[in-house]
């Protein structure tokens, strides 16, 4: 009678965005990149990159990452990650540019 949500809804990656400058990512597989301007997270089939200023990871637990700061952009990447994290860090860092 009622259509139930798909079983993978609560096991796939989920993003909660607050306009106060907080983003909570659930079911995250890991952190791929972190500096004050960018946080890249492994969400399984895709990658999520949060860009902004003064980004801090308020809480990092198993599967949960809480990011706070002045967020400007969220970018989703599909496919395998080929770039070396250290190279990508240099590329995304303002000092590196």
């Amino acid at each position: 009678m009622f259509r139930m949500p798909p079983p993978a809804l609560y096991t796939d990656g989920m993003i909660h965005i607050s306009c106060a400058g907080t983003v909570q990512v659930d079911n995250c597989k890991g952190i791929l990149l972190y500096n004050e301007n960018a946080v890249e997270l492994d969400m399984g089939r895709l990658r999520l990159q949060l860009s902004g200023d003064d980004l801090t990871l308020e809480t990092v637990e198993k599967g949960i990452v809480l990011v706070r700061g002045r967020l400007f952009e969220m970018t989703f990447f599909y496919g395998e990650r080929t770039q070396n994290p250290e190279e990508k860090r240099e590329k995304s860092s303002p000092k590196g540019g």
């Binding site: 890991g30 952190i31 791929l32 990149l33 972190y34 500096n35 004050e36 980004l55 801090t56 990871l57 308020e58 809480t59 990092v60 637990e61 198993k62 599967g63 994290p85 250290e86």
Partner: protein
């Protein structure tokens, strides 16, 4: 959030920094191990953040895999605070003991303070408060204070009002003395009569008119000074106050009967002391309580307890028992006469001033094993009393 902060402070937390290598991998390793990291901020060479102190050793394993260098920047929490005092627990014991005492003595009476109260009232009120159980170390309730106030006001002849305010361990006492009767009332119309019989020596009339003269004999109740008379010129009745001093030569007889054989309670010379500490509303006996003797007299003393000159809200009560024994005493006639004379002299001294005695005579005789003594005292005294 607040509970997390409290828990973090109680169990301790450290701020770590991870530099060099792939520190993102290290963070992933940490989360895989079940660690919780908080407040992560990027640094020039890596990242820094907070974690529970108990998990810090685990982070090294993850850092080794990722070629990171991990070190502690800051330590926070009770374990690190206590670590400073390891081996010097006495330094912590003092404040802890002080805190425990403050909590235990909460609501306890520490001292009694008199606010602008004359000294004679302080002594009187202090004794009455002790009688009512209000002393340092007790926990007085509102009902106790109200009851003590009522009792003190009923027992005191000189207090019009009394306030007992228990504020932060102090009992502040304020009094309002009773106002003396106005002088006008003392000179109310009336008469002065004789309190006892005697021969008048001299009179000093202040108000009214004397109706007796020096050398005249009067009996108890006779009119001495009157405040009512008829003006001869106007024939009106004039009413004035009557007051004065009428000194008369009086004779008083004191009698005493002293049996030659009687039973007396003689102290054995032994002293038994019980000490009780009254603290926090409780009575803590400091010595074992043996059986009380059958016959005894006792004395109870209370003294405040102080430690290095610092007064504590406690009182040490010492109860001294003086056991007595019954002894049959057999007196000779002369001893009985001396004892009877001693008792009569004591009665005389307690009753009036012995300096005005003109003459005294002691007489006695032994009848059926009892010495009957009589002391006749002749003296000068004021016999004037007001009669309204």
């Amino acid at each position: 959030m607040l509970m997390e902060r409290i828990a973090g402070w109680i169990f301790g937390k450290v701020q770590f920094s991870a530099e060099g290598g792939a520190y993102e991998k290290m963070l992933n390793h940490c989360t895989d191990m079940g660690l919780t990291l908080a407040g992560l901020q990027p640094t020039a060479l890596g990242v820094k953040g907070w974690m529970p102190a108990r998990d810090y050793k685990k982070i090294h394993r993850a850092a080794h895999h990722c070629h990171c260098r991990v070190r502690i920047l800051r330590r926070r929490g009770l374990p690190f605070l206590l670590k400073r005092y390891r081996g010097r627990w006495g330094l912590l014991l003092g404040p802890a003991l002080f805190l425990a005492l403050c909590l235990y003595f909460f609501g306890t009476l520490w001292c009694v303070r008199y606010y602008d109260v004359p000294w004679q009232y302080q002594v009187e009120i202090d004794a009455l408060l002790k009688e009512n159980g209000i002393l340092p170390g007790c926990r007085p309730t509102e009902q106790d204070l109200a009851r003590a106030r009522q009792t003190i006001l009923m027992q005191s002849d000189t207090l019009a009002d009394l306030s007992l305010n228990f504020i932060k361990g102090r009992l502040v006492v304020e009094v309002a003395p009773r106002t003396q009767k106005p002088d006008l009332e003392q000179y109310a119309p009336g008469s002065v009569v004789a309190a006892k019989g005697g021969i008048i020596d001299h009179l000093e009339v202040e108000h009214g008119f004397a109706v007796v003269g020096a050398g005249q004999r009067v009996e108890a109740g006779d009119l001495l000074i009157t405040g009512v008379y008829i003006d001869e010129k106007t024939e009106n009745v004039v009413i004035t106050p009557a007051q004065g001093v009428v000194v008369a030569r009086t004779e008083t007889v004191y009698q005493s009967a002293q049996p030659l054989q009687f039973t007396a309670h003689i102290p054995t010379g032994e002293v038994i002391e019980y000490r009780t500490l009254i603290m926090g509303g409780r009575r803590i006996p400091l010595s074992l309580q043996p059986e009380e003797p059958v016959l005894f007299s006792q004395e109870v003393r209370s003294e405040p307890v102080s430690l290095f000159g610092f007064a504590l809200p406690a009182v040490l009560e010492t109860r001294s028992l003086y056991p007595e024994k019954e002894t049959q005493i057999q007196l000779t006639e002369q001893q009985a006469a001396e004892r009877a004379r001693f008792l009569l002299d004591r009665a005389l001294e307690s009753e009036s001033d012995t300096e005005e005695i003109l003459q005294r005579s002691f007489d006695g005789q032994l009848t059926d094993g009892v010495f009957h003594a009589t002391l006749t005292v002749e003296r000068l005294e004021n016999i004037a009393v007001s009669a309204f």
